[in-house]
């Protein structure tokens, strides 16, 4: 077991060194993007919208934007890092080693979650320059970050396994992740939507992550909090099983 821990620590350390080495690509852009969201949607437009669930619009969108940063950065980190390792063939360093597949997966997921958390913390710090926030439920906040980031790290890993060129890891964020995020209740409460849009919104997994985090920070949610955690849990288990199966079969990795 200690061998596995050392191997796991090696992957995590390598991932964190990578994140910090290219900080101008990994940490700064999301911070700038989110600052613009706060200025435009929170300050300029938000002041004319009024309150939502009893909070100012700025306070209401902060948890959504933080969660959006966490999941997009977790996804982006693992998909670019693992695909980069495949493309540069240095994934073979791990494949020829005695490491079991679950250690490889856990190492990359931990690295991706770490980037998500660092970016989330940066964005939250920036948000505090625009509004006051008090965390209503710390444990819910912590676990929603952990599970939300894990779900999208796993999804990014699966994407990287199947990707054959760099375009393939850009397609999913552009055509799937971004639309789902924008329609996942980041900027509005889905209670405002009429049918069938309200029901359609409920099949979007990002809605549950955003609302779990919003419940943790503000204490309000559009969906039952237990349902949100069950949805995230199911995705973690399902995507982990898929990722491990792909690694075990060597899809995209072993001939």
């Amino acid at each position: 077991m200690s061998n596995h821990l050392i191997a796991l620590g090696t992957i995590v350390r390598r991932e964190i060194v990578r994140i910090l080495r290219i900080w101008t690509q990994t940490l700064i852009p999301p911070a700038i993007t989110m600052t613009l969201y706060f200025v435009i949607f929170g300050k300029l437009i938000g002041s004319r919208i009024g309150t939502m669930h009893g909070f100012t619009y700025m306070q209401y969108i902060v948890p959504g934007l933080v969660m959006m940063s966490i999941i997009t950065n977790s996804y982006g980190n693992i998909s670019s890092s693992f695909f980069g390792a495949k493309f540069g063939r240095f994934v073979e360093e791990m494949l020829v080693s005695p490491m079991p597949n679950w250690v490889i997966l856990l190492g990359y997921v931990t690295g991706a979650v770490t980037r998500g958390v660092i970016v989330g913390a940066l964005v939250l710090t920036i948000a505090l320059f625009f509004t006051d926030l008090h965390v209503a439920h710390p444990f819910t906040t912590f676990f929603s970050v952990l599970l939300g980031a894990t779900v999208f790290s796993l999804a990014g890993f699966v994407n990287a396994v199947f990707a054959k060129k760099f375009d393939d890891i850009a397609l999913v964020p552009t055509f799937v992740l971004t639309p789902l995020t924008y329609l996942g209740g980041v900027f509005y409460s889905v209670d405002l939507l009429s049918e069938p849009w309200h029901s359609i919104s409920l099949v979007n997994p990002i809605l549950y992550m955003v609302n779990a985090f919003r419940f943790g920070v503000l204490g309000v949610s559009d969906v039952p909090i237990v349902t949100a955690f069950v949805v995230m849990g199911v995705f973690v288990v399902g995507l982990s099983a898929v990722a491990l199966r792909l690694l075990s079969r060597g899809v995209g990795l072993r001939s």
Partner: protein, 310 residues
């Protein structure tokens, strides 16, 4: 009876596109051996090495490394193997020291021990002064040596070198072979594939030749070379033109004014050649074996195998 370093049993591989890369390869490599695995391009060498290092999934068959099955006990088997692949496969933006330490980490070796080993092998391979520079700044020969250092991080019992000297200049090649010969002498079993057949002839004690997915020869280097019945010598001579002597069983060719080539049966003695040359006023100042004997045999065996297959 000692457990073989490598025992390959009827290994087969058919790729998804239908190409049958291995058609039932069986092979045994004894512990401590320096073993040559030779074959033309596309013969199946890299597929075989890929299966042994778990980068390629075998269609059927098995292989044991020191008695440990690479399929049933993959992790244990991988601990025993070090691989130097044909293509550069490290992160060019990382530093050689980090590449080595991380590789050790993947094998469960702690950072203190890994750092000590990284320094040891980077020094031995004359890379220590580049240890903390980005790997992409290394020359081609340095990158090859870095892959050897990396493969040594788990101090393997079986080291597999897949064309490690491709594109490397002669001086660096020699220093690489000095290092590999040293670790072989210290007990590590070495399997080598190379296109420089003179390297294989000088270094390896046993040899397998693979072609079209089949082993066409598997024997000792000595016995293989003894099957070659003709040798060619290059003679540096002083001569003032004129006829060359006619000797039964010897074919003499003029290369230039000061060089002759003599192709002769191994049974033929050299004294009669020198006597005949001397009688024609030709003085031999020095001589050497022209070619690579193994290269000659290699071409013959591969061609013979293909004729039989046809």
């Amino acid at each position: 009876m000692t457990t073989p370093a490598l025992h390959v049993k009827d290994l087969r591989k058919t790729y998804g596109n239908g190409v049958e890369a291995l058609k039932g390869v069986s092979l045994t490599v004894e512990p401590g051996d320096f073993f040559a695995l030779l074959g033309p391009n596309g013969a199946g060498k890299s597929t075989l090495i890929g299966i042994l290092s778990s980068l390629v999934n075998a269609t059927s068959g098995d292989a044991e490394v020191f008695g440990v099955s690479i399929h049933k006990q993959r992790s244990e088997a991988m601990r025993l193997i070090g691989l130097v692949p044909q293509e550069i496969n490290f992160n060019q933006f990382e530093k050689p020291f980090d590449i080595c330490v991380n590789q050790a980490g993947f094998y469960g070796i702690g950072r203190a021990e890994a750092s000590a080993r990284a320094e040891k092998y980077l020094r031995e391979l004359r890379l220590w002064d580049k240890a903390h520079e980005q790997a992409r700044t290394l020359s081609g020969g340095m990158k090859r040596r870095l892959m050897i250092a990396r493969a040594m991080m788990n101090e393997p019992k079986l080291l597999i070198l897949d064309e490690p000297t491709a594109g490397v200049d002669i001086e660096i090649r020699r220093s690489m072979w000095q290092f590999v010969s040293g670790i072989n002498a210290a007990g590590t079993t070495v399997i080598l594939t190379t296109h420089y057949l003179e390297e294989a002839e000088q270094l390896c004690r046993n040899i397998a030749i693979i072609d079209q997915g089949r082993i066409v020869k598997n024997t000792t280097m000595k016995s293989l070379l003894s099957t070659l019945d003709v040798e060619t010598f290059v003679l540096d001579v002083n001569r003032s033109g004129g006829e060359l002597p006619a000797l039964p069983g010897v074919t003499l060719r003029v290369i230039d004014d000061h060089t002759l080539e003599a192709e002769m049966s191994r049974a033929h003695d050299l004294n009669s050649l020198f006597a005949a040359l001397s009688a024609h006023g030709i003085t031999v100042t020095s001589m050497r074996n022209k070619a690579n004997r193994l290269e000659e045999l290699f071409v013959r065996l591969v061609e013979h195998g293909r004729e039989n297959a046809a």
